[in-house]
Symmetry: C2
Subunit: 257 residues, 2 copies
DNA sequence: TCAGGAAAGTGAACGCTGTTAACCGTAAAC
DNA sequence: GTTTACGGTTAACAGCGTTCACTTTCCTGA
């Protein structure tokens, strides 16, 4: 436990939490995320924040990480509306919630998922590259695989560099739960995430026909196209109905302001 | 022709060209694109630029449009290394050039393809949504279809809103060249673009294992996955070899600064 | 218990940003 | 030849990230 914390450390932790809180409030209000605005909202002067973050980019990274963390909880919560034995349904519901969240919170999405990890410190890079949402979706996909054992590429079928990447990932995190010989599953996950990211990012940035965004047809189409690879071809009608139900529940209100 | 232009109009046009030139120089040097920097580089004070652009965002849109235009020329030029009867090869070479350009010019890519079209003026929105590169790839894909007539969904197989979107697109532009009953082709294009965008954007933002980015395996995999829908399954080995050849030609030098 | 020191916060300042206002010369237009 | 509009200026404002020197406060170690 972190009960071994001195009073100062607890105070410091609380301040970090307030930084994140103030930042998220700003974003939620449609304002720009700026160091000074965060400081002002905290009732503190701007240079004071430099006791907690090294730079503006550092603040962004911190906030992005926490936003991802919080958002992922809602994705997971959405899945819990379904029984544990419906792994496929849970994955798709989470993914649909992800899209909904992204469209409703475009600034937050950009912060977390369109934030260039150029030459940033390796620490943060890893934190974001293998994010909370990444953990969740990987886990949920593994659950699907445990239930129906859809075929995944064998390690020696993968291109060498891909084999390296899935056997020795940049962050030796959750992926460890997948046995080494089944790591083709991780490659399948990356493919799926890439496709999901494509639709959602295009939708969030508005680089798509507004009517298609509004309807979510490209999103559904992407899922339908990918589902067979997860051995979900037979189950698809039911799954699509579930996804469309969630889509309809949040349709109508296009991007406000 | 625009020969009917008065002297003032020509002068004005030249100034616009210089604005774009200065902006692109800044981006190429790794600097941030800022109104003041552009003005300084032109040997002019910042407020003077407001005679040409209404705001900073307007400048960004202008530059983004021109960058897309110029980049598209290079994508097209790359295709011209192949004979006209190799439509599939031409498409894939252009697409590979697009990826290469994006990775080599991440700031430019972000400007053009990750620039939120939130509540901007409808004019610019359309200009970017159906961009030069969009035109090129649509054309090239149509060329593939003219050569091998791969199956495309019939209009009445499409979801209603998609049918609307492809029969009456936001901008009645190049798509007109596709007969109305063959507009399923446009839907197929949108699917392809979405997948391509997903890989490239993730790569550019660095949200992927560096080794996979470097090798381009996810990019190739995405193309391979999509090729059968273009009736290119049989031709794929040749096409993949071509793509990999282009990939190797530009490998080795990872992202500088 | 008391001195020392680190942590946290302040105010002032620098250089940058986008943007507006008032003003002026010059070149096109009638 | 007069008028007008265009293209540029300077000055200024508000806001940004960031640094520096300084003060207060609270924890720690002898």
């Amino acid at each position: 436990m972190t009960e071994t914390s001195t009073r100062r450390e607890r105070q410091r932790e609380a301040t970090y939490a307030e930084i994140v809180r103030a930042s998220r409030e700003l974003l939620a209000e449609g304002a720009e995320l700026s160091l000074r605005a965060v400081a002002t909202r905290m009732g503190v002067t701007a240079p004071a924040l430099y006791r907690y973050v090294a730079s503006y980019q550092d603040l962004v990274d911190l906030v992005a990480y926490e936003i991802d963390r919080a958002a992922t909880e809602t994705f997971a919560a959405a899945a819990d509306a379904l029984p544990p034995d419906d792994a496929a349904g849970r994955l798709l519901v989470s993914v649909t919630t992800f899209r909904h969240w992204a469209l409703a919170n475009p600034r937050e999405f950009s912060l977390v998922f369109a934030n260039p990890i150029a030459d940033a410190a390796c620490v943060r890079r890893e934190l974001i590259t293998l994010s909370s949402s990444g953990h969740l979706f990987t886990d949920q996909m593994r659950e699907v695989w445990l239930q129906n054992r859809f075929p995944v590429p064998a390690l020696d079928e993968l291109p060498p560099v891909v084999r390296e990447a899935v056997t020795d990932p940049v962050i030796p995190a959750k992926v460890e739960k997948v046995a080494l010989e089944d790591r083709g599953l991780v490659w399948a996950y990356m493919q799926g995430w890439t496709q999901l990211y494509g639709v959602v990012a295009l939708e969030v940035f508005g680089h798509m026909d507004p009517r298609i965004i509004e309807s979510g047809e490209m999103f559904v189409d992407t899922l339908r196209n990918y589902a067979p690879r997860l051995g979900l071809a037979d189950d698809w009608p039911r799954l699509e109905a579930m996804v469309r139900e969630r889509l309809a529940a949040s349709a109508g209100r296009a991007a406000p302001r």
